[in-house]
Homo-oligomer: 358 residues x 2
């Protein structure tokens, strides 16, 4: 398969969302989130899941015309109800609200209930950085990660993202899960018949294990990042997102990729925006960021490494390449994009057709 | 040695700070921070360092009568200058300010420059929880932790703390460094002739190593928590604390326990307070916290473990025991408390005198 032009992928994704009944604006927003994530090379959180989002939209577990809206607010905070619309639509609404409030308030914190899986947390944090602000984004999810001493999953791999702009040194975008390693990596090892580091998994007796087949058989959970540290951060996210907003907690959150597709999952998120301009002024902040990033990049690096990277730098390089040359997806993503086309009543687009695209 | 009564330790610490020229209020604040930390069993960040703080106070690198003060502020944010006073005095000032602002603004973010080592980050986060709010506290420090691909230390072990109250289920207090393991643990292994997990250290070629003697010889750095994740979080803290506040960054931060003692270290901190009352109301929030904590504690636990713990629970149990029975310090802390007494012109207090206390 030839690389897929970003514009073609975006147009296809937009059409699929429109077909599901989204407004033009919301379809555009959701397509932008997913395709941007793909340009970063983060294929696990991009259009790969388009088929899953649209299954839920067709089943009305996600409302195609849902309207995220403010339930309560002050100058520096808001409680948003996602109205079971797409997590990407609600996430963008909430982060934009936080940025708008921080513009005058200096800081703003927005919590969201009644949402769904929102894709890559880093996308929302980066929206703040694009506007010259510092952003944080986080979300809860169904339990997949053990706690120290637990016999099974206690919390989700609750993602956390942070982004900050600089003057000339690029945007920092950190996007991490609070599990030691992603479930997708464990599944890949199982498929290839390999073992994984024993720091990645916890078996049904609460002991470390390197056998990825146990995870596939649901006889092992992901291990929290650095043990009690990742567990604590995941709990922080559960509180800031779920407890504060009044949304579902832990195992009451719905599994977004599975049945029942007609029932909202009630995921929750939290977004923080900090406006650096109020502290030292925008120019001084950006110059100090350049100094920090440049200083780190200038440090001696290990053999075979060009320079020490700022988080998000690799993804920005991939994005440049994707915009210039298109995206070379793994076969599994291509297959699922074809599923999205077929299930939504579209012919397989030529860029996804091996016979045509060769 | 018999356990030391908490009241005796507090009175001693207070007297030592007064002798260094602190006001009664500031001496009380600093003693409370350090002794509370000791009651949690976190001996690395309590009165163990009293001698080091007082050396710096006597050398005027910490100003005994320094006054932390607001440089700039809005209803939901502030920039505080620590005036090179004790980090504990400045930290308490800044977190109280954040909590007071969040009471009306819903959220408040306070950054601090021109401070010093502030002890345990968890103490400040817990101040917010004590007032029914959610708190975050963080600080930068001199580099001791490698970045992915670096040949040496890039950032400090930049601590991060989060705290949140509940109705009847206790306070959550998470306090973590962004290194995989603490330098103190590595030093202890070296002293005992043991190796450490190779995930803890990075050698001078940027490779993992389990040899703790390399760290002692400054030929190895601490590894970041879960690699790029801990590195990214440490950078986040460097930005929120150091870049935003206009304080020293990375290797320009002073080494607080070493010469030059007369020069301020220019550490920076950041504090966030979120008032849950504005979202769902205080009672609903606390009940939801009880539900979350109780649900986790009720899950099946591994053999030999009574129940899954909420972060800070172990420390609260230790505090109860300490208040009832006194604190049984490791020998090294007792030795350094005697140093603090001697260097500040006090006779060794009876509770620290092996001859008397037996």
């Amino acid at each position: 398969m030839k690389p897929i032009p970003v514009a073609d992928l975006k147009a296809f994704t937009l059409q699929v969302f429109l077909k599901c009944g989204l407004s033009k604006e919301d379809a555009e927003t959701a397509a932008e989130v997913l395709v941007t994530t793909d340009t970063w090379g983060v294929y696990t959180h991009g259009t790969k899941a388009l088929y899953a989002y649209t299954r839920r939209l067709r089943a009305q577990g996600l409302k195609p015309l849902g309207r995220p809206h403010v339930e309560k607010e002050g100058p520096a905070w808001a409680l948003v109800d996602g109205d079971s619309s797409l997590g990407m639509v609600t996430g963008v609404f909430a982060m934009r609200l936080a940025v708008a409030k921080a513009k005058t308030s200096g800081v703003a914190f927005v919590v969201v209930r009644n949402s769904c899986h929102f894709g890559a947390a880093g996308y929302y944090a980066s929206l703040a950085a694009d506007q010259g602000q510092i952003g944080m984004a986080m979300s809860n999810d169904v339990p997949s990660v053990a706690a120290p001493g637990s016999l099974g999953a206690v919390l989700g791999s609750n993602p956390f993202a942070f982004a900050a702009p600089s003057g000339h040194a690029g945007e920092l975008v950190l996007d991490i899960a609070t599990a030691e390693a992603a479930g997708g990596k464990v599944a890949a090892a199982a498929a290839e018949g390999k073992t994984v580091p024993s720091t990645w998994l916890v078996d049904a007796q609460g002991k470390p294990t390197g056998d990825p087949t146990l995870f596939i058989q649901q006889k092992a959970s992901l291990a929290p990042m650095s043990g009690h540290k990742g567990y604590g951060l995941a709990l922080m996210i559960e509180i800031l997102s779920g407890v504060l907003s009044g949304s579902a907690l832990r195992d009451r959150v719905g599994i977004w990729m599975r049945e029942p597709l007609a029932r909202p999952t009630d995921h929750s998120h939290a977004f923080l925006a900090v406006n650096p301009a109020v502290f030292l002024g925008e120019d001084a902040f950006l110059a100090r960021q350049d100094d920090l990033f440049g200083g780190i990049r200038g440090l001696p690096a290990a053999k075979g490494i060009d320079h020490i990277k700022i988080p998000g730098e690799i993804e920005q390089d991939k994005r440049k390449k994707a915009l210039a040359e298109g995206i070379q997806f793994p076969a599994e993503v291509l297959r699922l994009l074809r599923v999205a086309a077929e299930e939504n009543g579209f012919p397989v687009p030529s860029f996804l057709d091996p016979a045509q695209a060769g």
